[in-house]
Amino acid sequence: MFRLVLLVCLAALHFLPAAAQDQPYLPYYSRDTAQVYQLAVAHRNAIKDHLVVPKTGSSEYRDHYRKIVKETSDEVFNSIRYSALLDPTVEPYVQQVFRRILAANPQLPATAKLVLSRNPQPNAHAVGTSTVMLNIGLLPRLENESQLAFILCHELAHVACRHMQTSMQEHLLAVHSKEMKREYRRILNSEYNISSQIKALALGFSLNSNYHHRRYERQADSLGYVLLSRTSYDASQAYRALELLDTIDQPETAGPLPLSAYFNCAEFPRTFAAAENKPKSIFTVKAAEKTVLETTDTLKSHPDCAKRMRFVRTLARDQVAAGPQAASTPEFARIRHISRLEVIQSWFDYDCYDHALFDALLLLPQQPQNSYLRSVVLLSLYELQQHLQGHTYNEVVSTISPRNSAPFNDLLRVLYDLRHDEFKGLSACFAQANEPGQADEYALAARYAAMALAAEPATAASLKAQLQKQYAGGRFEKLLFPVPPTKAGAARH
């Protein structure tokens, strides 16, 4: 009998991870921020320890150096404190890739550390002296682990080449150079047109700085490729990674969002195709004002991807992977899937409800049964309506811009066109066909949001009580049920 029980228990233990994997993924959330705080402090201290204010140079130079160290360490601290993602799945995965690169390249500084950020923007960057920040937003846009490895190698190359420190020193030397001081004094003494002269001086300084940055990027691509080549990853994927970066600002799925399918029903007949285009400007000025830094490729801090691709192709002697790659491993596919949902949650958590709504609606046709996505749609509608009611809509809805993808701009037009009372109809139509589940915090919060939008106070109150009881101190408590401020600032007119 005992043996039988033991066998059953062992079997249960064996199947438990598989069962857990079958559970729909919900974004990571932890009330405990101590670990993130300690991580942030450690990175801040590392920068302060590393960047010691020199004893030589003018007092101005040293003060400026001190200021930059403080700003940099604070920036790193804040980035980590408010964005580090220490989830049990994606973070260990990317750390393992990072370790593999370090192991294959022992000459890299041992102090180099990777931090996974909840930043939904598809990007990565090296900060401070040895910290590589990888945005969660980048992961869904990559096709395989080798591409991820190249991105990390590129950032590690910046660390290895001490680009951040060199950049800072060059900046300080330039600012405090005799030539710069002489020019600055000359401008101040000239008495007339000081503003335009200072602008020209600053622009020249920026251009020079960007020239150096571009040089660093080329070095990072070059060394990054070498670092990748020393690992067991497929180095030909470096080229493909740059190809993907070239189109990273466009959504993965082309075509308009099926808004009518989600938000049009018998109770709320509404056509979304009729959302008006942006009113025509009365100005016929040739182009919106752009700084020189935005206008020509030669002046950007990063060279265009096409140029970088050509460079990498040369390094790889034409042994490059180009075009869409074969399906990634199941493990990487799962990381991409989880990252997509984490990206949506990040948009939501940072009050970017337009982005959260857009990404959720973009993903729903592929995962129509995903209760989390349905919940995000309803919660985003609720938050948008709350901000409209509180006259802070402008703070949570982006401007229609040529920088956005066309489908996102279409959604923005719809959002700007919406009236306060229309959110009720949108929510009702969506919930009819996309009822969120009932098993988790997100679904319960979404049901509360739907009832609040439907002006069903009794049901909403009941759901609120349920949510507060079941998920006290949970993800949505402060957002959905904020405690009103006790003191309001006075305004002067």
Binding site: S79, I194, C352
Partner: protein, 524 residues
């Protein structure tokens, strides 16, 4: 001012500008900010952009750089123009857009001249004109204008404007003698004069004129006539001028009825019926305005030949009272009268009249000072109260009266104004900016309107807790009210018109030398 979680994200993560800052703009390095530094640019009914006029650094020994920064209706920067003009002595009076050209009207205090410059829509300069022969009255008016007199009514006090006329150009108004007469000059987009319309120099009357509307054919105006410079007896006239030729089409007094005393609040053109529409209030012939209450408001309609084709009175005690909400009645019995701010016709054929209550009360201290021989002391104070929207159906039947209660705000009136007529006092209060009403916004299709005013929360006091009240109405038949907190954390907050469905709030933070602007979507 504009710190949000989203903005914090942008700062931390270097989000793209489009994602980080939505329909808002923060400008650094602003040393000082006055409301008039920023002005909306209208094309027809709708706000299509903003102009910021700023005083820059020194250009040379005698001149400074002045900056004209242009923003679109979403606060996106379009372009800028830098001009070199006399140091510290150059002011933008107003900007206007007539659909094909922008006109900027400057006062050059050093030379004692007015300067006009026009630009096409690509901001290429089209023409300019310097006006040197300013009359004493012009200078008086300009002085008042620099002190903040809005001159909306352009009747008492007045203001110098460039009035945009679509397809024609711009009309410049001026005053002759010691406010004895007026002159209007039409300039084309290149600042070439086209016609002149002026009061009769031989006339024994004193006349002033305020332009109210430019239609496809006419320029409409309200003219005030007095017997002499010190006369308080005024008559109002409705004037229509042919926009192409400058010939007078209509000039008709309204306050000369044999049976009742009339005040003129508004003179507009109903393009669908091709009729001129006059709206005002009526009194018994022997009544004294503000001592006796007005009997109601009237609408008179005239065809293009100037012939009266319809007149209708709406008595407070008859037509209006039956539709008046109970909560509005006490204020009517408290001697409040209405000032009509705007009259608009919806595409549904309905006419909407927006009015705000005001009354004059004796100021004890002012009376005492006057009795004791004090000069310049006011004997009257104005009080501004609630808002009304009167809705008339396409058959001109009063179909609805909407009442929006407000807390009473106070106004100080110039000496001697207590003896003036109702319409005139309203005009003075309007030109002084005493009303809570700020502006009305409408879309080009005339399907949606909203009236914006500023009031305060009673428990917080008149200066502490300002809010923006918004009344929206239109073709959907619904009236919506929205209340927006003006608390921004800035030292100074300003409210401006914006594209349909929005208002624009600007806040100046002196310590940070920062100006924040944001569009606020209205709940309508």
């Amino acid at each position: 001012m504009l710190f949000t979680k989203r903005a914090a994200l942008a700062a931390l993560f270097t989000l793209s500008a489009a994602a980080g800052f939505a329909q808002s703009k923060t400008l650094d390095g602003i040393q000082n900010m006055h409301r008039s530094a920023l002005s909306p640019i209208y094309a027809g009914n709708e706000v299509k952009g903003y102009l910021m006029f700023a005083h820059g650094d020194k250009a040379d020994r005698k001149n400074d750089n002045y900056l004209l920064d242009f923003y679109d209706q979403d606060l996106g920067k379009v372009s800028n123009i830098t001009i070199q003009k006399p140091a510290n002595r150059f002011t933008l009076l107003n900007n206007s857009f007539n659909g094909s050209a922008f006109a900027f009207y400057f006062l050059n205090s050093k030379e004692g001249t007015l300067e006009m410059e026009t630009y096409d829509t690509s901001l290429k300069k089209l023409g300019s004109k310097v006006i040197e022969d300013l009359s004493k009255a012009d200078k008086m008016v300009l002085q008042g204008q620099l002190q903040g007199n809005t001159g909306d009514a352009a009747v008492m006090g007045g203001a110098m404007h460039l009035f945009p006329v679509p397809g024609q150009g711009f009309v410049r108004n001026s005053y002759t003698g010691m406010m004895k007469g007026f002159a209007l000059v039409m300039y084309d987009d290149n600042m070439k004069p086209k016609w002149r319309f002026a009061s009769d120099e031989k006339s024994k009357f004193y006349e002033s004129i305020g332009l109210t509307e430019a239609t496809d054919k006419y320029i409409l105006a309200m003219k005030m006539r007095r017997d002499g410079a010190m006369s308080r007896q005024m008559t109002s006239s409705m004037v229509a001028i042919d926009a192409t030729t400058g010939k007078k089409v209509m000039d008709m007094p309204v306050e000369t009825s044999k049976t009742e005393q009339l005040s003129l609040s508004s003179f507009t053109f109903d393009a669908s019926k091709r009729e001129f529409v006059a709206v005002g209030e009526y009194y018994r012939l022997d009544d004294k305005p503000f001592v006796n209450k007005s009997l109601g408001f009237y609408i008179k309609r005239f065809n293009e030949a100037g012939k009266l084709v319809g007149t209708k009175n709406y008595g407070w005690q008859k037509e209006v009272m039956s539709l008046m909400p109970a909560e509005a009645r006490p204020s009517l019995e408290d001697n409040y009268v209405n000032y009509t701010h705007s009259i608009v016709k919806g595409s549904n054929g309905k006419l909407y009249i927006v009015a705000e209550q005001f009354k004059i009360v004796g100021d004890g201290l002012g009376i005492a000072l006057t009795v004791l021989g004090g000069r310049g002391a006011s004997v009257s104070k104005g009080k501004v109260a609630n808002m009304f929207v009167f809705e008339l159906d396409p058959e001109a039947k009063l179909s609805s009266v909407k009442f929006y209660p407000k807390n009473v705000t106070n106004a100080t009136l110039p000496a001697g104004t207590g003896f003036m007529s109702a319409g005139l006092l309203g005009s003075i209060m309007k030109s002084q900016g005493d009303f809570d009403y700020q502006f009305m916004q409408r879309d080009d299709a005339n399907t949606q309107f909203n009236v914006v005013y500023i009031n305060f929360d009673k428990e917080k006091g008149e200066d502490a807790k300002l809010y923006i009240g918004n009344i929206a109405f239109g073709d959907n038949g619904k009236y919506a009210f929205d209340k927006i907190d003006m608390t921004t954390g800035a030292n100074y907050s300003y409210l401006y018109p914006a594209k349909p469905g929005y208002v624009m709030l600007a806040g100046f933070n002196k310590k940070k030398s920062q100006l924040g602007m944001k569009l606020v979507k209205l709940n309508i």
